[in-house]
């Protein structure tokens, strides 16, 4: 097991190294380099100054050389300065990471709290009215554009009924817990509904498959109650393939979080990365993308470990 985890951590490091180079190179291809930005904001700069500044910041050196200089600094924890926030990039990122983790964590919990009972209910009587309704919900969930779902929730609950705030994380001057929770409702609802369809679909399919197995008949034959058969015997086995799906879903969940955060002006990583790219804040965009990738890969690894825990047949030796 520890060998497996060590191998996977090495893989994570390798993916991060490759990603950092690719993103570094891509960001160099974005319009407007830092010197252009300085020239446009300072009319007194002469072409000679621009050349001097380029040499000063090392922008005249080849890409590979610049990348290694960046990587060396990054490994010591120096991700450069954020142009937009005038702070070290890492200091800007950390508090946002917590906000995004809260949003994503709450949505995963809500999604499973809804999808598990619904999936079991549907799988008990395949083809029934309940099953068709659940199936419809799956298709709606995977087909709905998340930003439009957010718009509709804002339209109904914020603009229409006026019962929930349309964005932000707290009312200015009021940082109390109930107020913060109120601000979380719509973002979490959006991300939950938009990400639940896929999970629900797998839970339902996996439960139907499991309930057909011989050991379920055995359990029923020896007189186990329906609840016990469903939860102790079937669900535990049905969850195994579901966990693999969960492991692969964190990336798209983060993408969903980016959209949700943008819609609700929620100060998380996704919105920060989006703003950084749009605002030519290269250091911040690069550090943000890498931190997001690292988080997603670690969550992925955690789900793989959970896989071994719930299925004793799997051992990663």
């Amino acid at each position: 097991m520890s060998r497996f985890v060590a191998m996977r951590l090495l893989q994570v490091a390798a993916v991060l190294a490759i990603m950092s180079f690719v993103i570094y190179a891509l960001i160099g291809l974005m319009p407007g380099d830092p010197i252009d930005l300085m020239i446009s904001s300072n009319p007194h700069l002469t072409p000679a100054d621009a050349v001097r500044l380029k040499a000063l910041y090392g922008l005249d050196r080849p890409l590979i050389e610049r990348y290694f200089a960046w990587a060396k600094a990054a490994l010591t924890g120096d991700f450069g300065y954020s142009r937009l926030y005038v702070k070290p990039a890492f200091e800007v990122l950390l508090p946002r990471l917590g906000n995004t983790a809260l949003l994503m964590g709450a949505s995963i919990i809500c999604a499973y709290a809804l999808a598990l009972p619904l999936g079991i209910l549907a799988a008990r009587k395949p083809g029934s009215a309940i099953d068709s309704a659940v199936n419809m919900l799956c298709f709606a969930g995977i087909s709905v554009p998340p930003f439009w779902l957010a718009l509709m929730l804002i339209l109904i609950f914020a603009a229409g009924l006026g019962v929930l705030p349309a964005g932000g994380i707290a009312t200015i001057g009021d940082g109390s817990i109930p107020d913060r929770l109120q601000h979380l409702v719509l973002p979490v609802a959006t991300l939950t509904l938009a990400s639940m369809g896929g999970h629900l679909r797998y839970i339902r399919a996996s439960m139907i498959e499991t309930l057909r197995q011989d050991f379920i008949r055995t359990a029923r034959a020896k007189g186990a109650g329906e609840t016990r058969v469903l939860t102790r015997h079937a669900l535990r086995n049905a969850l195994i393939p579901v966990v693999t799906v969960l492991a692969l879903s964190f990336g798209s969940l983060f993408s969903g979080a980016l959209i949700t955060e943008t819609m609700f002006a929620y100060p998380g990583m996704g919105k920060l990365i989006y703003d950084a790219i749009q605002g030519n804040d290269f250091n911040l965009a690069l550090a943000g993308l890498l931190l997001a990738t690292l988080t997603v890969l670690l969550a992925n690894l955690a789900a793989d470990i959970a896989y071994a825990v719930i299925d004793p047949r799997i051992s990663y030796r």
Partner: protein, 294 residues
């Protein structure tokens, strides 16, 4: 041919297929006919901003006085076209990868499938936003093309196809794996056919059904992705309308013009759900060996 008739008997296939056909016909034909109805019908009219529905404007007008229904159809033409073209490109690429991985098996398969999984596991949206922001002149695309209005269309097609191939790749790989050990493939091998010949002549024609199913699902997936990118302002650029970019300004006008936020999103939703139902129904109908859905 019989299988196709059977497929049409599936309620999901019939309904979603007809719906998509009607939408596509309306989106491709009406904007062409529009100029015949008079220039001012589709044009900007600042005196008729946010007008309520009337005989001339069945759904009213948008924030600068353009007919909303016409604009929705023009947007639909772009969204459907991007979805179909990109899905075909993604299907080609995904089929190549899936066929190769499934046929070669072993290490090649393991490496390719890990790469596919890895790609699915990454947070792709922020990466796509970076890719959409790069200056095409810096990678040697001719200036005349970069400055043309349609460049955002070409760019988005390449971007979403780059992400959309994974679904097709996995489905084709699975189907190839099961075909690979069939007798007719073994027979061809025994008769000394080359790998390329077996893949292209013996296996590929048998992959028609899974490829059609996967492409249908990919169209939905890609339309959804295009709408997200266009909504965020990094996909199809105005003045070209797409369902996604029609919603970009909708959040500001939602309090007094909710219809502008409602319709484009509803059309994306309906189109994507129809593609998913169609793909799912076709899968059941075209692949009789797979277990019947309950």
């Amino acid at each position: 041919m019989r299988r196709w008739r059977d497929a049409w008997r599936d309620r999901r296939v019939a309904w979603s297929g007809s719906l998509l056909l009607v939408l596509a016909c309306a989106a491709f034909i009406v904007p062409i006919l529009a100029p015949l109805a008079g220039q001012e019908w589709g044009g900007v009219d600042l005196y008729r901003r946010l007008a309520s529905p009337s005989l001339i404007h069945p759904l009213g007008t948008d924030e600068i006085g353009r007919d909303l229904m016409l604009r929705l159809l023009q947007g639909g033409r772009v969204s459907l076209m991007v979805g179909i073209v990109a899905a075909l490109a993604a299907a080609g690429f995904g089929t190549a990868i899936g066929l190769f991985a499934g046929f070669r098996g072993g290490r090649t398969d393991a490496v390719l499938m890990r790469a596919t999984d890895g790609m699915i596991a990454l947070p792709l949206l922020p990466l796509l936003i970076v890719l959409a922001a790069i200056d095409l002149k810096k990678i040697g695309v001719p200036t005349s093309l970069v400055d043309s209005e349609a460049i955002s269309l070409y760019r988005i097609i390449v971007l979403v196809a780059f992400v959309g191939w994974t679904t097709v790749g996995r489905i084709v790989r699975g189907a190839t794996l099961s075909l690979r050990s069939r007798d007719f493939v073994r027979a061809a091998e025994a008769m000394g056919a080359s790998s390329a010949r077996i893949m292209l002549v013996h296996i590929l024609p048998n992959l028609a059904s899974p490829i059609i199913v996967a492409t249908t699902l990919a169209v939905g997936e890609i339309i959804l992705l295009e709408s997200v990118l266009s909504f965020l302002g990094v996909g199809v650029q105005p003045p070209i309308a797409s369902w996604g970019n029609m919603l970009t300004g909708a959040q500001e006008t939602i309090a007094f013009a909710p219809q502008l936020a409602l319709y484009p999103g509803l059309l994306i939703f309906v189109t994507v759900i129809a593609c998913n139902f169609l793909g799912d129904g076709l899968q059941d109908a075209l692949d009789p060996r797979a277990e019947r859905r309950l």
